[in-house]
Amino acid sequence: MLGMKVCTSRFGEIDIPDEKAISFPDGVIGFREATRFVIFDCTEDGIFKWLQSCDRPELAFVICQANLIVPGYQVILGEKERALLGLEKADDAAVCVILMIPGDPKEATANLLGPIIMNSETRTGLQLVLVNPDYSARHPLFGGQKGQACSS
């Protein structure tokens, strides 16, 4: 099994089998040069994952499935995105969002405007820019304005 060593600021050096790497041909917004990532679980239940750059040790995001934050969250992919992902079946696409988690977890927000879409078959991903005015780049996980994922 071929593999690579990935240096990370948070987790030290980790061994990643090549087939676990995910290619982001366009990088992510603000980090266009970061074109390879790996994913691993943050928590035992697997709800939260780290999206760690293979190219930049300090670059890692906490992500989770978008519909966990907003049930029914959907994105529409254009031809260009489908081609980049090599997407044949919609079911192959994982739709995730990046989380911002400050000291108080109740203040956590999710970036609903820039979801991360990954094709599990081709192990390719991208960050989408949505035009949906209902979504915010800083959507509060708790006590949100629309009562989504609100505990009260």
Partner: protein, 85 residues
């Protein structure tokens, strides 16, 4: 930057296949119609900038994985919206 004056219903061509039409002008708001091939990404710049800002902020946080905070969020999320099967 090239600056052109256009009136309502006038169009600017960019290359062979991108058209920008001034649809309406009201006060300080201009409505612009865009015809472009599907492969061309068209965004409001402020949305792109907001995503970029959030990415940079999200990437700069949590110097160490704080499983306590994440576990707390997982618990809160489960309380708030049980994952649907």
């Amino acid at each position: 930057m090239l600056v052109l004056s256009r009136r309502k219903d006038e169009t600017i061509m960019i290359g062979d296949d991108i058209e920008l039409t001034i649809v309406d002008i009201k006060g300080d708001t201009v409505r612009v119609g865009i015809n472009a091939p599907r492969a061309v990404a068209v965004h409001r710049k402020e949305i792109y900038e907001a995503i970029k800002r959030e990415n940079i902020a999200a990437a700069g946080q949590m110097a160490l994985p704080d499983k306590g905070a994440l576990g707390g969020i997982a618990a809160l999320l489960k309380q708030a919206a049980p994952p649907r099967k």
